[in-house]
Symmetry: C2
Subunit: 424 residues, 2 copies
C-alpha cells in the first residue's frame, strides 16, 4: 500500500476466498469435537487474558473504524455501538470467562436404552461443525460468537459489519494467535471479507462446508439470508411483540408491564410494539395506559382520537423506537387473531387475573415465548439462565427462543453390539 | 369430462392451488395443537376402521393406478411397491392403530425452572404447524404420514407420486371424511396435485404457510428440494453407508455384519455400500468376505484383481442393489478420512475387538448413527423403539437419525408472573 509504484489492484474473487475459508474451517472443526472441556476452558481463559493484554492494539484498530464512520457521517447511535473503550474490552474478556464457566454441552447423553436384543444405544450431543454468523456493527459479537461456538465444539466463520472491519480483524487476529499458542488449528475462527454482500451470498450457499448460518440483524438481512440460502439457517431476532390487556386485567400491572416492555430498551427485539386492549376494559384502560406511555415520551399510533393515525405498516412492522401501536379488540379471540396475522413468533404477553384466559392465550398463541403478567423484556438468554446467548430464534425448527450452548449442537446415535445382525 | 361438447381445458394454476391448500392447512393447524390425546386417538382408530371398511373403493382406485402403470411399461418392482392388496390395506389400518397407541408428544414439559425473581418458566412441546411431505410411489406413506402428523398435532400436505394419484386421492378422501365426522377441520390433511414438479416447487416456497418440508426419495429429489426451498427442510434417506473392518476385527463377525448390512434389503437407505478393510488384516479378510458376498450374488467393485473396476462414482454413490464397493485402507485414520470424503452422514460401522479403536471411530466419524459390531440395518425408527418413523434425517439441524413423533414438534416457552418487570 505504501509502495511508491502502485500495482494494479487484483480483483479478489470473494466467493473463492469464502470457499477456501469454509474448507479450512471444516477441516479445523473435525478436531474440535474431541477437545475436552478442560482444554476448551483453558483456551477461553487464555483468550480473555490476550484480549485484555492487547487492549491497546484493539482500541487502535477500533479508533480507525470510528474515524472512518465519523468521516462518513454515520449517526451517533451507530457510532456508539461501534465504539470500544477499555471498559468494553474488559467486558468482552469477561464474556469469554463466563462461557468458560458454563457446562460443556458436548458428550452429554441425551437419551439411551438397551434394546431387547442387547444392542446398547446412546444419543450423544456433538457439535454442529461449522457455524456461520452474519451480524451488524457491534465488535463484541465477534468475540462472543467465537466463545460460544468454540465451547460447543464448532468452528465459526464471522461476517461482521464493514464499519467494524478493523476492530473485527484485530480481535480475530488475537483469538487465532491464542489458538495457535495452544496447539489448536487457528481456522476454528475466521473473519470473512465484508466489503459487500457477496461474502454473505457465498457463505449461505457453501452447502456441505457450512452446517448452519445464523443471521443477526434487521428483517431485511434475515429475509435475504433465508430466501437465498442453501445452507440451513436459523432466523433470529425479528420481534413484533404484543401485550394484550384482557377484560379482567389488573390495570396497574398492565400499565407497569407495557411501560417496561416498551421503554426498557426500545431498540431490541423483545420490546413491545403493539398494545391490544380488550373492549370490555377499554374505557378505563386506554386513558391510563396512554397517559403513562406519553409521560415517558412514547408516541402512540392507532385509530383512536389523539393518536397518530395507524396504517397497515404500524401493525406489521417493528418500530424499535419510542413508538407503539394501540388497538381495541373485541375479545381474546380477536387478540389471538390479530397476533396470528401480525406477530413474528417472538414474544407475546397477556395481562389478566383470569386463569382460563391465561391458559387459553398461552395455548393458542404461536410464539417462542408467551408471557402471563410479565414483561416481554424477559425473553433473553441471560434472563432465562443460559449464561450466554447467540441469538433468539423465531423459527420452529431446531431451536426456538433464546439460544445458548446446547442450541449449537446436534446429536449422534452411538450403538454398541457384539456381532448383532437384523433379522429379515 | 363426459360432456358431449368438450369445453376448452382450463389451465390450472398449480401454484395458486397449492397456496390455497396451504392456507387452509395453516388455518386447520391452529386447532390441532389444542386437541387432547384422547380425541386424537379416537380419530386415528376411526380412520383405521374407515380404511378397512372402504377397502373395496381403495383397491379399485389402486387397480386404476396399476393398470396405467402397466400400460406405461413401468418395471415390475415399482408396480409391486405401488400395488395394494387387502392384506396391505389391513397393514395401513394397523399402522394407524399403532400410532394411536404411542404417547402424545404434545404438552410434554421439556424443561422448566423458577427464576430467582419468582418467574415460572416451562418449555413445552408444541406442534410444528403445517408439515409438507414429498414422497414416491408407495401409497401406504400417505396414511402413515397423516397418522404421525396428526398425532403430533400437525396439519399435513401430501405430495405423492403421480403414479399413485388415484390411490392417494381415495385414501385422503377416506381420511378427510373421518375428520369431518369427528368435527375436525378436514384440511388437516390434503393431497397436492402431482401432474408435474410445479406443485413441489410451490410447496417448498410457501414460506409462512408451511413450517417444514420433508422430502423422501432419491438423492435427485432431495437435492432439488433443498436447493430451491425457502421453507425449512429436513433431508432424509441418502445413505452411502460404510463398514470398516479394523485390524483387530473378528472376521466371522465382520462377515456376518457385512452380509446383513448389504443383503437384508439392498434397496433401502441403511444398506451398506462400501466395505473398508484394514491393510493389516486384508490378506485374511478379503478372500473370506469376498467369497461370502459373492455366494449371495453380490457384485464387488474395487481396485483388486477379480473385482469390477471402481471409479469415483463407486465410492460416492449408493448402489441400492446387490453391489458393493470394497477398498483396502492403511489404518483407522484412512478409514475415517474416506468416510469424511464420501459418507452422507447416515450410518457408519466399525468391526473391531479393540476398545480404543471403537471409541476413536465413534468419536471421530460424523454421522447420524455409528455402529460398533452391529449391522447398519439397525438404523430404523422401529428398531430404535420409536413405534413410528417419518424418515431418517441425515442433516444435523433439528433432528438427526430416525424421526418419530417428537421430531415433528417444536417447543414454546410459557412464562407465568404476577406483574414482573425487568430491571434496567
Amino acid at each position: 500500500m505504501s509502495a511508491p509504484t502502485a500495482e494494479p489492484v487484483v480483483t479478489t474473487d470473494i466467493e473463492q476466498v469464502v470457499t477456501e475459508l469454509a474448507t479450512a474451517a471444516k477441516a479445523a472443526s473435525r478436531a474440535l469435537g474431541g477437545l475436552t472441556a478442560a482444554v476448551k476452558n483453558e483456551v477461553l481463559l487464555a483468550a480473555a487474558e490476550a484480549v485484555e493484554a492487547q487492549s491497546d492494539a484493539i482500541l487502535a484498530a477500533n479508533a480507525a473504524d470510528i474515524a472512518r464512520a465519523e468521516d462518513g457521517g454515520t449517526e451517533a447511535s451507530l457510532i456508539d455501538r461501534l465504539r470500544l473503550t477499555p471498559q468494553r474490552v474488559t467486558g468482552i474478556a469477561d464474556g469469554l470467562r463466563q462461557v468458560a464457566g458454563l457446562p460443556d454441552p458436548i458428550g452429554v447423553v441425551v437419551s439411551g436404552k438397551t434394546l431387547p436384543n442387547g444392542l446398547e444405544l446412546r444419543q450423544v450431543r456433538v457439535p454442529l461443525g461449522v457455524v456461520g454468523m452474519v451480524y451488524e456493527a457491534r465488535p463484541n459479537v465477534t468475540v462472543d460468537a467465537f466463545g460460544i461456538a468454540f465451547k460447543s465444539g464448532n468452528a465459526v466463520l464471522l461476517r461482521g459489519s464493514s464499519s467494524a472491519a478493523n476492530s473485527n480483524a484485530e480481535l480475530v487476529r488475537v483469538l487465532r494467535e491464542v489458538l495457535r499458542d495452544k496447539g489448536i488449528n487457528a481456522n476454528a475462527v475466521s473473519l470473512l471479507p465484508s466489503e459487500d454482500r457477496s461474502s454473505v451470498t457465498a457463505l449461505i450457499r457453501a452447502r456441505g462446508l457450512v452446517d448452519v448460518v445464523i443471521p443477526r440483524g434487521g428483517a431485511g438481512l434475515i429475509n435475504a439470508v433465508v430466501a437465498n440460502a442453501t445452507v440451513p439457517t436459523i432466523e433470529t431476532g425479528t420481534g413484533n411483540c404484543h401485550v394484550y390487556v384482557h377484560a379482567l386485567a389488573d390495570l396497574d400491572i398492565a400499565t407497569r408491564i407495557i411501560l417496561n416492555s416498551k421503554t426498557r430498551r426500545p431498540s431490541v427485539c423483545n420490546t413491545a410494539e403493539t398494545v391490544l386492549i380488550d373492549k370490555a376494559i377499554a374505557a378505563d384502560a386506554m386513558p391510563k395506559i396512554t397517559a403513562a406511555l406519553q409521560a415517558q415520551g412514547v408516541v402512540i399510533h392507532g385509530d383512536e382520537p389523539g393518536m397518530e393515525p395507524a396504517t397497515e405498516v404500524d401493525w406489521a412492522e417493528e418500530y424499535l423506537s419510542l413508538d407503539i401501536a394501540m388497538k381495541v379488540v373485541d375479545d381474546l379471540d380477536a387478540a389471538v387473531a390479530h397476533i396470528d396475522t401480525y406477530g413474528t413468533g417472538h414474544t407475546e404477553a397477556i395481562v389478566t387475573t383470569d386463569l382460563a384466559a391465561a391458559r387459553e392465550f398461552t395455548s393458542r398463541v404461536d410464539a417462542a415465548a408467551v408471557m402471563v403478567n410479565a414483561s416481554t423484556a424477559f425473553t433473553d438468554g441471560e434472563q432465562f439462565g443460559f449464561g450466554a446467548e447467540i441469538g433468539i430464534s423465531t423459527q420452529k425448527l431446531h431451536a426456538r427462543g433464546p439460544m445458548g450452548l446446547p442450541e449449537l449442537t446436534s446429536t449422534k446415535w452411538i450403538v454398541w453390539g457384539d456381532g448383532h445382525i437384523r433379522p429379515a
